[in-house]
């Protein structure tokens, strides 16, 4: 059997695939809320059973540590055996079956756990509306149905391609137990060659895309101290250090006139943007003026590192931002205070090859070297570092995914990056050294995390077909 058979199977089983997807959506797997724990487990079992029916060996692995009073949701963990002759890569598929809480309920047009199919309206196509319709049950179902199609038509799990499947129930809770899980199953996971995640978006409606890089993150918080008490600005204004003045003056030095970060060595490990990428991205035709208009800014809102377009800055350039800053009197009216301290949260988005630990260390050193006279920093809190991940455009895995998606969409596949950080991908890179292919089919208007979340049937079908075709590409890689 071949890819054509599996694709034909998808076509002829379209309605039962959608029915299964809606069946899963009816199980309210709100992982963050203990009162949904039985349902969340039921959703895990549903997923396990589905994979078993497609020939996978699957179990639920507990992450709870009851003796520590520690809740947890089981991981759906399984694998498919490799065909004897298979010499291609082993794929780690990651997804999650937990969903965001549905509140505020009153803003839903239909109950969040009673999925309905709605007809096309304007530019929005026919769609399933429910909590989790897209994030991530809808996107995972595409994969599950692709596996079923290959099993039904070839008789083999995943058509003989060795997959490891890790579908967790704690993604919306910050994947708090995932790293521990990965460490505990390192031997098996480390056999994989690349990660496949279906939890991102396309470039736009009818514009299928593969995301080949996300930015890393370093998030810090610190406080600048001067006097040991709040002072009256009459008696002390101009006499001793004001931590607010000094914090503003210090943080201002983080950037030069060209909006470049001034920390020594900050750009050392940044992979230069290639002319090829620049050209590719330009061809995508992203309307940056429209992006700015969407957030209420005119064209002069195009503010950032000199020499790069907005898209280039988001996808290929690191950045530094104050995410919070506070000190002194911030209530109504006036208080003539020189406060004893002032604080800030400062984060960095990093790009390929930048080591978050190294950036964190050099920022700490920079702060120490820029300590204002008469002041001191309290310890810099590390609110989390995440590794950026980027696959080279010529990666074999990436090219295979691209060919698969092109085969089923009959469209040029946009190779895009994301300015955000996907902590799971960074963690898998960090612990296992694995890169990630993000093959997602969401649309910006899918309202994930919001009332009336939806996933369009055309996206669902395209995603299932793409996963089917990806198996074929993998078989041919061997």
């Amino acid at each position: 059997m071949s890819v054509d058979g599996a694709l034909a199977w998808l076509d002829s089983h379209d309605q039962v695939s959608i029915d299964r997807w809606m069946e899963w959506l009816r199980i309210p797997s709100v992982g963050t809320d203990p009162k949904f724990d039985p349902d969340t487990r039921k959703a895990a079992e549903w997923c396990r059973d589905h994979l078993r029916e497609s020939g996978f060996e699957v179990d639920l692995v507990e992450t709870a540590v009851p003796e520590k009073g520690h809740r947890g949701q089981p991981v759906v963990f399984g694998h498919s055996p490799a065909d004897p002759g298979y010499t291609g890569p082993r794929i780690l598929f990651y997804g999650h079956y937990d969903v965001q809480p549905p509140d505020p309920l009153e803003l839903w047009d239909s109950p969040p756990f009673e999925p309905v199919v709605k007809p096309a309206e304007g530019k929005v196509g026919e769609r399933v509306v429910a909590r989790g319709a897209q994030d991530d049950k809808g996107q995972v179902t595409m994969f599950l149905e692709a596996m079923r199609a290959w099993k039904e038509t070839s008789g083999k799990a995943a058509g003989g391609v060795p997959f490891t499947v890790l579908i967790e129930g704690e993604e919306e809770s910050g994947s708090v137990n995932l790293e521990r899980f990965v460490e505990a199953h390192r031997d098996e996971l480390a056999k994989c060659d690349v990660v496949l995640i279906s939890d991102t978006t396309m470039l736009g409606r009818g514009r299928p895309a593969i995301t080949y890089g996300v930015r890393g993150l370093v998030y810090t918080e610190f406080t600048l101290h001067a006097s040991d008490q709040d002072l009256h600005s009459g008696a002390w204004g101009g006499k001793c250090p004001n931590p607010l003045n000094e914090l503003a003056k210090t943080l201002a030095k983080l950037w030069d006139e060209d909006y470049r970060v001034t920390i020594p060595g900050f750009y050392d490990d940044v992979a230069p943007l290639t002319e090829e990428e620049r050209a590719e991205w330009k061809k995508l035709g992203i309307d940056e003026v429209e992006q700015l208009a969407d957030i209420g800014l005119g064209p002069d809102g195009d503010v950032g590192e000199k020499g790069f377009t907005m898209t280039e800055r988001e996808w290929a350039r690191p950045t530094c931002d104050i995410n919070g800053m506070w000190g002194g009197y911030i209530g109504d009216g006036a208080k003539t205070v020189i406060p004893s301290h002032a604080s800030a949260k400062v984060s960095f988005r990093l790009v390929a090859n930048q080591d978050p630990k190294k950036i964190l260390a050099s920022f700490k050193q920079w702060l120490a070297e820029h300590t204002p006279k008469g002041c001191r920093w309290s310890e810099v809190a590390d609110h989390g570092t995440g590794l950026g991940v980027t696959l080279p455009l010529d990666s074999d895995y990436l090219q295979a995914a691209r060919r698969a998606l092109k085969r089923v969409s009959d469209t040029d596949v946009a190779m895009i990056k994301s300015g955000g950080s996907i902590p799971v991908a960074g963690m898998l890179k960090n612990t296992l050294g694995l890169d990630t292919i993000f093959m997602g089919f969401g649309l910006e208007d899918d309202r994930i995390h919001s009332p009336n979340e939806k996933f369009e049937l055309s996206s669902f079908r395209l995603g299932a077909r793409a996963h089917v075709a990806f198996i074929q590409e993998l078989l041919e890689m061997g």
Copy 2:
């Protein structure tokens, strides 16, 4: 009769003066709290009667506007006639009879409105402990007893010196009705030549002082806006303006490397510090290292405008301080937000000749000229401007007060300034053009506004004698 007679009268009536002072302290004139309104009025009547007994024409003038639902405490308003041959200045004495709320009551060693005389302990001398013991009933009583001494010994109110007396009951409520009162009585008040206020401190124990200048104030608040919504720093970090980054960068430009304010023209109207003043202040022997130690700073906390000592900066130099700054996420943990806006409260302490309105206008213009790319300011809120007041050291009035204080203390009188702002003095300068002599007898450890407020008997006696001697100096000025 002469000053010697009046001083002798004070000596021989010491106990009755103290008894009267304590009688007034027993009336709980907590002006801010409506439930004390009858007592507050009683305290005003007590003061009125005292002045009448000393030959003053005095009335209570209501400030309440009942039809506006507006509470108010009566002003004790009176005057003493000038002796036919008097050619010296007319003095406006300002004080207040309302006191701070006594809370927290449990921290008082004795009930706040049951004054007690406590014996000397260590460096602290014999003292009356009660709410208002110093601020301002104690300091006003010194003046009242001096008036009584002159009346008793010369037969004339204030010994024939024309005084206008304005003792209000709303000082602890921000003197909310005072400017209106002054406008309504402008004709009478404008006849005065100088203001006398007894509500400040000495340089230290046994170091009598006259305060000849206080700083002015401009207090502003404003917000910097970029996008019309909070943004995710993954998607937007480095792509568009971050109001927190830009606010820090802008405010940092307010000062140069020498901690001088960079707003054009800011120093134009600043009276230069004379070599004479520098020498005088140096002679005061103020221990700046100890001042810093008191607020937990080492000698490197001596941070401020280059070329001036700490005392010089407080008394003679204007300054600019951020008093509050906030924006983005300021809760626990991390949120990767690029906020739509960020805010700050910025104030200026001004010195002699600087016009608060002009400084406010130039700061607004400076902000406009430093608008970060892609951003806009919302309107700058004016939380109040106060005029600084300074008398030239060679002012005849000041010299008269200095001679009076030297005569009764037999000590060099420290001529000092204050970095704080006394809004009443600024308002009287602004509305009537009157300068103020601050002849106060408090000590830093009098705990005004705190439990166990006290005023030492030696301060009380010195103050009463100084006011007696000041009358003599005024008589001799004519």
